[in-house]
């Protein structure tokens, strides 16, 4: 047992050191910065919680945080809802699993920025969608609600994150023994009932994993909202980016980062608890 444990430690040591160095140290620096303050050109290194007071009372911060969580939540829901049927298809309805798994990684073969730009091209005022609708005489004027808003951000991110949601859900579906579904049928359940009483509760871990993988990075995304979000689609990370850039207020940026991180952490924990409890209640 002892050698097993030490072997485990040895095996995880490189990863632990890596994480230790590349996460803990920057995080520590961030914490320290958040208690300093920015004077005109230099940093005042006396410890104070003034940044926290400022950030937590600023309605803009609260507004952006709520919106970020809302958008990330929408992205997560949309992505998981899209990914689930695809994962289901690959797990149960096709023999060509490897081919399909390869196909879903195709978006990664081009850069993320290019993908965001292509959404701009599709959704824009003179974009593909508007031109198509115009030439089909379905609309008289280009639609303006397509781009530069929350919808565009959700759409772009859901597309970008889909593979990350498909994979964990696929893995959890793959683990379901087909005889369990036959047993459910045998006990009188229709296919839909079997899905809700066997497949869904058994894939809760996959759904939770997919949701966290999408939700956490999405809250902090600033590229997508900057490119397709307009002013209506701005998120907390855009504000943080400004602090480290144009506004040149690193301490406030650090504070905002930490507040966002803690909020996301709490929301994530709440979600995991709710989802697993809900999954356990299905019988």
């Amino acid at each position: 047992m002892r050698s097993e444990a030490s072997k485990g430690l040895a095996l995880s040591a490189p990863a632990s050191l890596y994480v230790g160095a590349l996460v803990s140290i920057p995080l520590g620096i961030l914490v320290v910065y958040s208690f300093w303050t920015q004077t005109y050109v230099s940093i005042d290194k006396t410890f104070t919680a003034v940044n926290y007071r400022e950030a937590l009372t600023d309605p803009l911060v609260r507004h952006l945080l709520v919106r970020s969580i809302f958008i990330a939540g929408m992205v997560t829901i949309a992505t998981v809802a899209l990914a689930y049927p695809i994962a289901y298809f690959i797990a149960f309805r096709t023999q060509k699993k490897t081919l399909w798994l390869l196909l879903i990684t195709i978006p990664f073969w081009s850069s993320y920025l290019l993908r965001v730009f292509s959404w701009k091209l599709i959704l824009g005022f003179n974009g593909v969608l508007n031109s198509a609708l115009l030439s089909l005489n379905l609309i008289d004027q280009p639609l303006t609600f397509l781009l530069y808003n929350e919808l565009a951000v959700v759409l772009t991110l859901a597309h970008a994150w889909a593979p990350f949601a498909i994979l964990p859900i696929y893995v959890s579906l793959q683990k379901i023994d087909p005889s369990l579904l036959e047993a459910a049928t045998d006990l009188g359940l229709s296919p839909a009932e079997s899905f809700f009483r066997v497949t869904l509760p058994m894939t809760v871990p996959g759904i939770v994993a997919a949701s966290l993988i999408i939700f956490i990075p999405t809250v902090g995304d600033y590229v997508t909202p900057a490119l397709v979000g307009g002013s209506e689609g701005k998120m907390i990370a855009n504000l943080i980016q400004v602090q480290f850039g144009a506004a040149n207020n690193w301490p406030l940026g650090a504070t905002l980062s930490l507040i966002a991180m803690v909020t996301v952490g709490l929301v994530a924990i709440l979600f995991v608890v709710l989802a697993t409890t809900a999954g356990r209640r299905i019988r």
Partner: protein, 364 residues
């Protein structure tokens, strides 16, 4: 058991591509019967069971359960329940919720549901285990949960696919008796698939022996053992010495034959034999042969041989005897009484045989 037929299968056929998995399956089962489908691996037993359950479609034939044709009735609406080979216990549910699974649809009151689940758990001797998770159960307990989960639905027919094959030998034997007792006390028709002849014989009212998708013989265990219809069935059930023979004369229910090694014999016609020619095959069960150091008295025929091999089985000893005129060694099983004379390889022995214990197996 009543005289009423609960299941009728008529000319059922199932193909996978051009491969015929089940063909010409015709069978009637009585209400309350314990029926076993016995056959080697890949002969189509599971396929046949799944066709009855409705999990597998079939190209030809007709299935009726309790007088109702099953043609357009999907698996979830059939009056059958199944105990799966892997047990298929829902891993995300407790034992109680596994057993209650099918009942939840029927909108029973909570008290009624609790009562029925607990009765089912009592029946399979899992009283008080309702709170356990599936992964906290032993193989035997999982098997009981699967059984309770199916029985609680009060099916007209319970289908069991090798329900005991995952258990160790002692537990398996205990469960054989228990399953049989349970079946008799609740009076539901059981259809069990197995490749274990002993299991089939100890538990069943009747056994259907299947080879390559075809049902070869359906009979009570004693009849299958005493009068198998051909070489394949005879070889599959119990040990058997096969001896080629020639038909000399057929006389009513008697055959006069000349058997290799044994000479001229008069034997009974086996009514289950379907094909007969001048070349014939006879069978002798190893325990029906007498072995002696000197020529034994009072037997219809006696032959001399040499012991080639001895195998000790605990409750019996098997001697493999070389006999002139026979290519295969003759196996003789002797109960392991204390007074048994021990023979060893190379010993000269005599074998004694009664005509009544020779089985006519038809065409050779």
């Amino acid at each position: 058991m009543s005289d009423q037929n609960i299941i009728e299968l008529k000319d059922v056929e199932k193909r996978f591509g051009s491969f015929v998995a089940v063909s010409d399956l015709t069978l009637s089962l009585k209400q309350g019967e314990f029926f076993s489908l016995l056959g080697p691996s890949g002969c189509g037993k599971t396929t046949a069971l799944r066709i009855i359950a409705g999990f597998q479609d079939h190209e030809k034939g007709k299935i009726t359960i309790d007088g109702v044709p099953m043609k357009d009735i999907p698996a979830n609406k059939r009056p059958t329940n199944m105990v799966f080979q892997s047990y298929a216990i829902f891993p995300h549910l407790t034992v109680f919720n596994n057993v209650a699974f099918g009942l939840r649809k029927s909108r029973l009151s909570k008290a009624e549901l609790d009562q029925r689940v607990n009765e089912a758990l009592d029946m399979v001797e899992l009283t008080g285990m309702g709170g356990r998770k599936a992964d906290e159960l032993s193989g035997g307990q999982r098997q009981r949960v699967a059984l309770a989960r199916a029985l609680v639905m009060q099916p007209k027919v319970l289908l069991l696919d090798e329900p005991l094959s995952a258990l160790d030998k002692n537990l398996r034997e205990a469960m054989q008796l228990e399953l049989r007792r349970l079946q008799q006390s609740i009076g539901i028709t059981f259809v069990m698939v197995t490749h274990d002849q002993y299991e089939a014989m100890t538990m069943s009212d009747r056994i259907g022996v299947m080879f390559e998708g075809k049902l070869m013989q359906v009979d009570r265990p004693e009849v299958l053992y005493a009068q198998p219809c051909n070489r394949e069935v005879a070889a599959f059930i119990g040990g058997m010495n096969f001896v080629p023979a020639e038909l000399i004369k057929e006389d009513g229910d008697q055959l006069q034959i000349k058997a290799a090694g044994f000479g001229t014999l008069n034997i009974d016609v086996n009514p289950n034999v379907r094909e007969r020619g001048s070349a014939l095959l006879i069978g002798v069960r190893p325990e029906q042969l007498e072995i002696a150091a000197t020529k034994p008295e009072g037997y219809d025929s006696t032959i001399e041989g040499t012991i080639a091999n001895v195998a000790f089985y605990g409750e019996s000893v098997h001697y493999y005897v070389e006999v002139e005129g026979l290519t295969d060694v003759v196996s003789v099983a002797v109960p392991n009484y204390f007074h048994t004379v021990d023979y060893k390889s190379g010993d000269k022995v005599w074998l004694g045989l009664q005509n009544s214990s020779i089985i006519d197996l038809g065409k050779g």
